[in-house]
Amino acid sequence: MTPSAFAVPIENYIGLSAVIFFLGVTGVIVRRNPLIMLMSIELMFNAANLALITFAKAWVNAAGHIFAFLVITVAAAEAAIGLAIVVVVFRRAAHVDVDEIATLHG
C-alpha cells in the first residue's frame, strides 16, 4: 500500500490506546469511588481492544478481532461481578472507605 495523505500510521492508534490505558490506570489509582474505579477498568479494557484491533488491521489477521471479542465478554463478566461485590459491600456497611475493605485479605 502506498502511503497517502489520508494514511494514519499505526503508531498513532497505539499511542492513543496507551493514552486511554493511562487514563484508566490513573482513574483506578486516584479515585475512591468504587463505581468510578470499575469504569476506569472498563477504559483499560477498551484501550487493550483498540490496540488489538489496530494490530489485526496492520497484519490483516482476524485473530485480533476474535481476541477483542473475548475481551469484551470478559469485561461484561467483570462488570457484573464487580458491581455485585459493590452492592454486597454497601449492604454490609453503609459508609465504607475503599482502602479499608480488607475482608478478603485472609
Partner: protein
Amino acid sequence: MIAFWVLALALIASGVFTITASKPVYSVVGLLGNFVVLAILYLTLQAEFLAVIQIVVYSGAILVLFLFVIALLSSGVKPFDEGTNRLPRVLIPALVLGGIALVTIVFSAVRSPSPAQPSITAGSPGALGQTGEAGVFGSVANFGQTLFTTNLLPFEVTALLLMVAVIGVVLLAGDDVPSRLQVRERGTEREPIVKSGEPLTR
C-alpha cells in the same frame, strides 16, 4: 488523518471527563461518549462487527448495569467515603512502574517485525459493503468464519465464563432463597425487594 485526530481528541476528552467527574452518573455519560467514539474508530479499522458489539454490549448492557447500581446505591446519599487524596502516596510507585512499562513497550516495538500495513487508510478497499464475503478482511462473514472454525474452543470457554459469572453474581448479590416452610408461613404475601433492616436507604 483529520478524522483520526478529531476522534482521538474526542476519545481522550471523554476519558478525562470519565475519571474526573464528581458523580458516577457523569462518569457514565463520559464513558458512553468514549464508547461511541471508539466504535467509530473501530469502523475506520475495518472491524464492523466489533463496532456494533461495542455499542450493543458496552453502551447497551454494561453501562445500563452501572446505571442500575448507581440508582440502587446512591439515592441522594454519598455511599462511599472519599477519604484523603491518594495521589501523593502512590505517585512514586506509579512513576516507577510506568517507566518500566514504557521501556518494555519501546523495547518490544523496536524488536518487533514491521507489519503488513504500516499505516491505516480509512478509505482503503475493505469490508464496507462486502459484509457477506468471507474472504474479505474485516467483514462480518470473515469474523464469523474465524470465530466458529479456528477459534471455536475459546468461544465455548467464553460461554462457560459467562455461566460462572452469572452463578457468581447470584451467589454474591442475590437474596437468600426462603425455604418452603417460611414461604408457607408467610402465605401469599410478597417479599419486599428492599428489606427494612438493611441499610440501603440510610
